[in-house]
Symmetry: C2
Subunit: 108 residues, 2 copies
DNA sequence: CCATTTTGTGGCTATTTTGCCAAAAAGTCA
DNA sequence: TGACTTTTTGGCAAAATAGCCACAAAATGG
């Protein structure tokens, strides 16, 4: 029971971990607006395409995205929902922290 | 502009990264129900207390939690909102993946 | 069939993260 | 003050991650 709970949390942590890299979150953010091929995502993040491919496999293994081959290209789409709302919250947290840093600087 | 966007995404990725460790997500999950002292959280995850302390500093640096000393103990509380909703979504994703694995096993 | 395009893998090094122990801070209580 | 409690920090070794290059796989077009 408690062991199941820990396993469940570990599975969720894996999803957060997959999202916890700038290039991967950038790709996921763009995928919110619709599917993209690897080449598009490679142009977006600017890394070597093999690096992008490995990042995408991390996201796929975590279940965050799914892929489908059509013609010569592989298309990735988002499978994780609730991101709009949550990213708004993390964004608010970031805004808030920036503001508090500004206040700290002013208080000097 | 595009550079600011990348910085913003990187700041958000830092939050996901902080949540992307089983022990840290476990503590955060419990903190949803109210503040806890370090000793409580240490008992929860079972690691050395110095390890727990470092995990907490990662969460604090990312802005996910805040801390306050009262008496002899340090109390941590959650500062990031929207977690209930998002964890429900990641949970649904995990359920769905488990089910699809069961189907794959049965299909053999 | 062969050349080309697109994506994934293997292998490697550099960097980062993790988690423990020991010790330092910072309070608290007698 | 001095012993004790709670938490943090420094330092270290093991493990994991990131990102590049070279090459393999798979599909397409001529």
């Amino acid at each position: 029971m408690d062991d199941d709970y820990k396993r469940y949390i570990a599975a969720q942590a894996r999803i957060f971990k997959a999202l916890g890299h700038p290039s991967r979150l950038l790709m996921v953010d763009v995928l919110r607006r619709g599917e993209k091929c690897v080449c598009d995502l490679q142009a977006l993040v600017g890394d070597d395409i093999s690096t992008v491919s490995k990042h995408l496999s991390v996201l796929r293994d975590a279940g965050v995205v799914s892929s489908e081959k059509r013609g010569t290209s592989m298309y990735y789409r988002l499978t994780l929902g609730c991101l709009d709302n949550f990213l708004a919250c993390t964004g608010a947290l970031i805004e808030q922290r920036v503001l508090s840093q500004v206040r700290m600087i002013k208080a000097k």
